[in-house]
C-alpha cells in the first residue's frame, strides 16, 4: 500500500479567489457579528500585516481598505468533494481527511508511471484548477497526511523509511488529538520518534486507547479505517457573481472555469456528458439553457465553446446574479478512434466536433442528412435522417426539389420527356394524380413540372434538373 496525500491548506480562499481573481488584500471572516475574526488571508493581506485569528476590528485598524468575505463551510466541503472527484482519476481508493485528500497509488503507478511522474500529473491538475496544494506519499494514509503537513514533496516509499521519516516530526505537527499533543511536551516528549519509543501500556493508562489507535494508524499496524469516496452520479456547480451582470461578455470567464471544472470532473470518473443545463439566476427568475450534444464528450475547450455558442444567443431579461451548471446524465465516454492512414490533415477537427459546433450556433436541427422513403410522391419521397436504401429510380428525377410545387411562370415550356403518371395516396388523404414531364423553359432551365392528367396547361414546378 502506498498513499498519496494532497493537502489543501487554503481550500476556502482558493475557492473564493478562482471566481473573483483579485490582486488586492482579501480575507475570509467567520464568527458572531460582533466578534468576527479572520480565518484566511491572501498574500497581499498577509503582507499588510493581517493574520489568521485576528479580530476583524483589529484588522481594520491595521489596513484601511481590504475585502472581507464570509467563510462558508459548505463551500469548502463542496470544493473538497469536487477535488476528490478529480483525484478519482488516479485511484479507485480516494478518501477525505480534514483539508486533505488521500489516495492509494501503489497500483496506479502501473498505469501512470513511477511516483515522480504521477506526482507531477497531480500537481499540474491541481494547479490548473487554481488550488494550492502540498503533496506527499507514504505507506500509510495518516503518515502521508502528517508528512504533507510538515513539508511539501516528501516521498517515503518503503515502511522502513517511514520510521526514519516520522522520527523528527514535531508533536504540534503530528495531527494527534489536541489535548495529547499539548500534554506530551510537559513530559519531555517533543517529537514522534520519542513518542513511538515509549511503553504502550503507560501511554494507554495516561491517554486512553485513542492515542494508541492514532499511532498504530500512523505506522500501519492498524488499517486506516477511512471511508472510501465515491464520486456522485451528477455534477452541479454554482458560481455567485460579485456584481449584477448585464453584459453576456462578462459571463464568459466564469463559464470557462465552470466548463473546465466539468471536464476535470468527467476525466475523474472517466465519463462524458451528453446533456447539461446552464442556468442564469436573476433576482426573481431564472433563464435556462440546455446544451445537448450528439455523443458524450469531455473536452474542456469543446464544452466551453458549445456553452458559449448557446449563451451568445440568449437575450437577458434581467441582470444575472449567479450561474449554475447542472449535468445529470453522465454516460460513459468512448474516445473517437482514428485511422492510421487517415487522409485528413493532421490538425483536422473531427466531423463530430464540427457538427456540434455548427449545431451550437445554428440550432439543434441545423445539420442533417436526407434519405429516401418508399413513397413515390415527391413531397414525401425523402425525409431527414431516413435510412437511405439506395434503390434506383428508373424515371428521371431532378437534382433540386421544391418544398411545395409552385406555378411555372412564362410561356409554354418545351417538353423534353414525359409524361410519367403518379397516382397514389388515396388511402391517407394526400391523394395525388399528376402527369410529370421534363420541360425546358425559354431561359434554358430544365424543370420537373406536372399538370393534371391529360392536360398540358397549368404547369406546376416541382424541381430543377440543375
Amino acid at each position: 500500500m502506498l498513499w498519496a496525500c494532497v493537502l489543501l491548506p487554503q481550500l476556502a480562499l482558493d475557492g473564493v479567489l478562482r471566481r473573483r481573481p483579485t490582486a488586492g488584500p482579501l480575507v475570509l471572516v467567520a464568527g458572531a457579528a460582533q466578534a468576527r475574526s479572520i480565518v484566511a488571508v491572501n498574500a497581499a493581506a498577509r503582507e499588510a500585516g493581517l493574520r489568521v485569528g485576528q479580530r476583524l476590528s483589529a484588522a481594520q485598524a491595521l489596513l484601511a481598505r481590504f475585502e472581507a468575505l464570509p467563510y462558508e463551510p459548505d463551500a469548502v466541503d463542496r470544493w473538497q468533494q469536487f477535488l476528490a472527484a478529480v483525484a478519482y482519476r488516479y485511484s479507485s481508493e480516494v478518501s477525505l481527511l480534514p483539508h486533505a485528500i488521500v489516495l492509494e497509488v501503489s497500483r496506479s503507478m502501473g498505469l501512470f508511471g513511477p511516483w515522480p511522474r504521477l506526482e507531477s500529473m497531480l500537481r499540474s491538475d491541481f494547479t490548473a484548477l487554481g488550488f494550492r496544494h502540498r503533496i506527499s506519499v507514504a505507506p500509510t494514509a495518516h503518515a502521508a497526511y502528517v508528512l504533507a503537513g510538515v513539508d511539501d514533496g516528501q516521498a517515503v516509499l518503503t515502511p522502513e523509511a517511514l520510521g526514519r521519516a516520522l522520527q523528527h516530526v514535531p508533536l504540534h505537527k503530528s495531527r494527534l488529538p489536541t489535548a495529547t499533543a499539548a500534554a506530551l511536551p510537559g513530559m519531555g516528549v517533543r517529537n514522534l520518534g520519542q513518542l513511538l519509543r515509549m511503553p504502550r501500556d503507560g501511554l494507554r493508562r495516561r491517554f486512553g486507547a485513542e492515542l494508541l489507535l492514532a499511532l498504530d494508524r500512523l505506522t500501519g499496524e492498524t488499517p486506516a479505517g477511512l471511508d472510501s469516496f465515491r464520486p456522485p452520479d451528477s455534477f452541479g456547480l454554482r458560481v455567485e457573481l460579485s456584481h449584477e451582470v448585464e453584459n453576456l461578455a462578462a459571463l464568459v470567464f466564469p463559464l470557462r472555469r465552470m466548463t473546465a471544472d466539468l471536464a476535470a470532473y468527467l476525466a475523474g470518473r472517466d465519463g462524458g456528458v451528453q446533456r447539461f443545463l446552464l442556468r442564469l439566476e436573476h433576482r426573481d427568475s431564472v433563464t435556462d439553457m440546455a446544451v445537448g450534444l450528439l455523443t458524450p464528450e469531455r473536452d474542456a475547450g469543446m464544452l466551453f465553446e458549445l456553452a458559449r455558442g448557446r449563451l451568445e444567443q440568449v437575450q437577458l431579461p434581467a441582470p444575472v446574479l449567479a450561474l449554475r451548471l447542472l449535468a445529470r446524465e453522465l454516460p460513459p465516454f468512448v474516445p473517437a478512434g482514428r485511422d492510421l492512414f487517415d487522409e485528413r490533415p493532421a490538425n483536422a477537427l473531427p466531423i463530430e466536433q464540427l457538427r456540434e459546433r455548427l449545431r451550437a450556433r445554428l440550432g439543434d436541427r441545423a445539420v442533417h442528412q436526407l434519405g429516401s422513403t418508399t413513397d413515390p410522391r415527391p413531397e414525401r419521397a425523402q425525409r431527414i435522417a431516413a435510412r437511405d436504401d439506395g434503390a434506383q429510380e428508373p424515371s428521371p428525377r431532378p437534382t433540386w426539389l421544391l418544398d411545395r410545387p409552385i406555378p411555372l411562370r412564362g410561356r409554354g415550356p418545351r417538353i423534353l420527356a414525359g409524361p410519367e403518371r403518379l397516382e397514389t395516396g388515396w388511402w391517407d388523404g394526400g391523394e395525388v394524380c399528376r402527369d410529370y414531364y421534363v420541360v425546358e423553359t425559354a431561359q434554358g432551365q430544365r424543370a420537373w413540372a406536372f399538370c393534371a392528367p391529360g392536360e398540358q396547361t397549368g404547369w406546376m414546378l416541382q424541381g430543377w434538373f440543375a
Binding site: P350, Q353, V367, L370, G371, Q382, L401, A466
Partner: protein, 212 residues
C-alpha cells in the same frame, strides 16, 4: 543538362506556363481532382478543380445544370471517407436525382443556416479539414469574405464551391477558378479565370444527361 531540369521544375511548379499552346502540345497527367467532364479537364491548368481552393460558379438562373457540373466530382468524393457539406442550398437536394448521378447520400450533410451565418458555417466546414468538399450559396459575399473561404479551403485541404449570380462577374474575385455557366442557346461553360494557366478563348460545351 542542368538547364533542362531547371526548366521542367519551373513548369511543374506552375511558375511559368506555356500559354495557349500548352494543353495540346503537352501530354499532361490527370489532375488530382478531375471534374468528370473530359472537355473541361482538358482546358483547366490543373487537369481538374484547383486542389484545396475555392472555385466560383456563376450562373444566370437556377436550374441550368450547375449541379451537373459538380455532381461527377461529388459522386467520386462520396465514395471516400470525408463527407460533402452543402451549406444553405437554395432548394432541397432530391435524393433520387442525386443517386441517379451516383452520389452516396449517406456522405452528404446538409447545413441549414440563416443568410448571415452562411459564410461562417462555410468557413468552419472548410477549415475543419474533415470535409472533402463544401458547396455554398452565399448571398452577400464580398471580396474579403471569398478570400477567407479561399484561405479556409487551403488550410482544411477541401474543395470549396461557391454558386453565385452572373452579375458578380464584373467584380474581382480571389477564387482560384471562376466558371460561368450559360444556358442559351446551348449549355456551355466559360472559364473566366484560372490560376496557373491561360484563360481559354472558347467556351466548353456541356452535354447534359439525356432525359427520357
Amino acid at each position: 543538362m542542368s538547364a533542362v531540369v531547371a526548366l521542367s521544375t519551373l513548369l511543374d511548379a506552375q511558375q511559368v506556363w506555356r500559354g495557349r499552346a500548352m494543353p495540346a502540345a503537352l501530354e499532361r497527367p490527370a489532375g488530382e481532382q478531375p471534374t468528370g467532364w473530359a472537355a473541361l479537364d482538358a482546358v483547366l491548368p490543373s487537369g481538374g478543380w484547383p486542389e484545396a481552393s475555392l472555385s466560383e460558379i456563376l450562373l444566370p438562373l437556377d436550374g441550368v445544370g450547375e449541379l451537373q457540373l459538380v455532381l461527377p466530382t461529388l459522386a467520386r468524393l462520396s465514395r471516400g471517407t470525408r463527407p460533402v457539406m452543402l451549406v444553405a442550398p437554395p432548394y432541397a437536394p432530391c435524393v433520387a436525382g442525386w443517386r441517379q448521378h451516383g452520389v452516396d447520400m449517406r456522405r452528404v450533410e446538409i447545413v441549414t443556416a440563416a443568410a448571415r451565418e452562411v459564410l461562417w458555417a462555410t468557413e468552419q466546414c472548410l477549415r475543419s479539414g474533415s470535409c472533402a468538399a463544401v458547396l455554398a450559396w452565399p448571398q452577400q459575399a464580398d471580396d474579403r469574405a471569398l478570400r477567407r473561404l479561399q484561405v479556409a479551403a487551403d488550410s482544411g485541404r477541401a474543395l470549396a464551391f461557391a454558386f453565385r449570380d452572373r452579375r458578380h462577374l464584373a467584380n474581382a474575385s480571389p477564387a482560384a477558378l471562376r466558371l460561368e455557366l450559360e444556358a442559351t442557346p446551348r449549355t456551355q461553360v466559360w472559364v473566366r479565370k484560372c490560376r496557373g494557366g491561360a484563360v481559354p478563348a472558347q467556351p466548353v460545351p456541356l452535354a447534359l444527361a439525356a432525359l427520357h
